[in-house]
Symmetry: C2
Subunit: 220 residues, 2 copies
């Protein structure tokens, strides 16, 4: 079996949100898809370990914010690689409450937002598929292209976090001499020459989560 | 609600297949996604009206062939807009039987193929989500890019068939003077000037399904 075939499936990049006691929660997912057009229903897949998973289970509502190609790596780092158990991910982010539900929705760095009420829940092991009836949908920015997982992977050199369904242990390429891994988010820096990583400036930070060089461990 | 927001979700284009009495069946879908990585599980969404839906329900196995950007419009027309009730869609197509199951898999015009055994079925109204355990996956063509729904829509000017979850009634753009619709597949030709459609050469055919001009009806 060649598991690289899984990487030929196409995905977007989304911030999945919900709310509890007026506190917003959210995480990045790559699986959101329309399943019926009338009535409009959308399904999302979320890892059970994500804090947002429990919040959606309790609230019965979720929001989807569709990220553009221009989404900042700090936004992706915060929502994709940190936990709402530890930090307020929405600090410094421009967001609002939905028109039809009280889910948080990103107003900047999103092309569009969709609000859903959960109508079915399917346990599929490590992940849960939430099927939602769409109660509102808005477009905020038609000038930007939506970020695909391919773009994130190829252009931004992003890697899937361990909770993602698409996560795989990385194999170094032939050209890689050293592999340095961010302890915080799992981002992998491939050095083509010895000492390339050490020679990065002291203020260099992880492009995904913003961790400094001391958070990296040499793996190869 | 702005339903155009649904078009900002990202999808690929796939041929979903199964088999009955040694006869291969298949249809085009845009929703296939990995839901867990260990064990590897993939879900697909299929309209209940598609003949392939019933075949998968009976056989308990399905195959996914991931289409490249270079996939021919005749392949898309055949698998996307015609029914296995009426024609043998696999005539003239290079395909094979899977290594682990007996599902048909496209060997040409596919980047990769994945074989699954159905482990869960979720009825979501007009569509069914089949969750499959992956039993084999192969890459055939690494040099090609996978076709996204955006590429199909923007570059090939393809439209979703009526059975697709992403189908919406089309609204003419401001520039459109006449709208001609293919009775067979629903493809919409937008004329920017009066008589533009009539002036197309007699041997012009629908770019999606190959129907000739006489199959088009003027809608605007």
């Amino acid at each position: 079996m060649n598991t690289k075939a899984f990487h030929t499936l196409s995905y977007g990049i989304y911030v999945l949100t919900s709310i509890k006691n007026d506190t917003p929660y959210g995480c990045i997912i790559n699986t959101a898809f329309q399943i019926t057009s009338s009535p409009a229903r959308i399904a999302v897949s979320c890892n059970r370990d994500n804090f947002t998973h429990g919040i959606i289970s309790e609230s019965g509502v979720f929001g989807i914010s569709v990220l553009p190609e221009s989404a900042s790596s700090s936004l992706i780092g915060t929502f994709g690689y940190k936990s709402g158990r530890d930090i307020d991910k929405f600090a410094g982010v421009h967001w609002t409450i939905g028109m039809e539900t009280d889910v948080p929705l990103l107003m900047e760095e999103s092309i569009s937002t969709i609000e859903c009420r959960v109508i079915e829940v399917l346990d599929v092991g490590t992940h849960t598929i939430f099927v939602g009836e769409v109660v509102n949908a808005e477009i905020h920015d038609e000038s930007n292209k939506e970020m695909t997982y391919r773009y994130y992977h190829n252009e931004l050199k992003g890697v899937a976090p361990k909770n993602a369904p698409t996560y795989i242990e990385k194999e170094a390429t032939m050209e890689t001499t050293e592999l340095w891994v961010c302890d915080l988010c799992g981002y992998e820096y491939e050095s083509m020459t010895n000492a390339e990583f050490e020679q990065l400036p002291d203020d260099w930070v992880c492009p995904i989560c913003g961790a400094d060089k001391s958070m990296f461990t040499k793996k190869l």
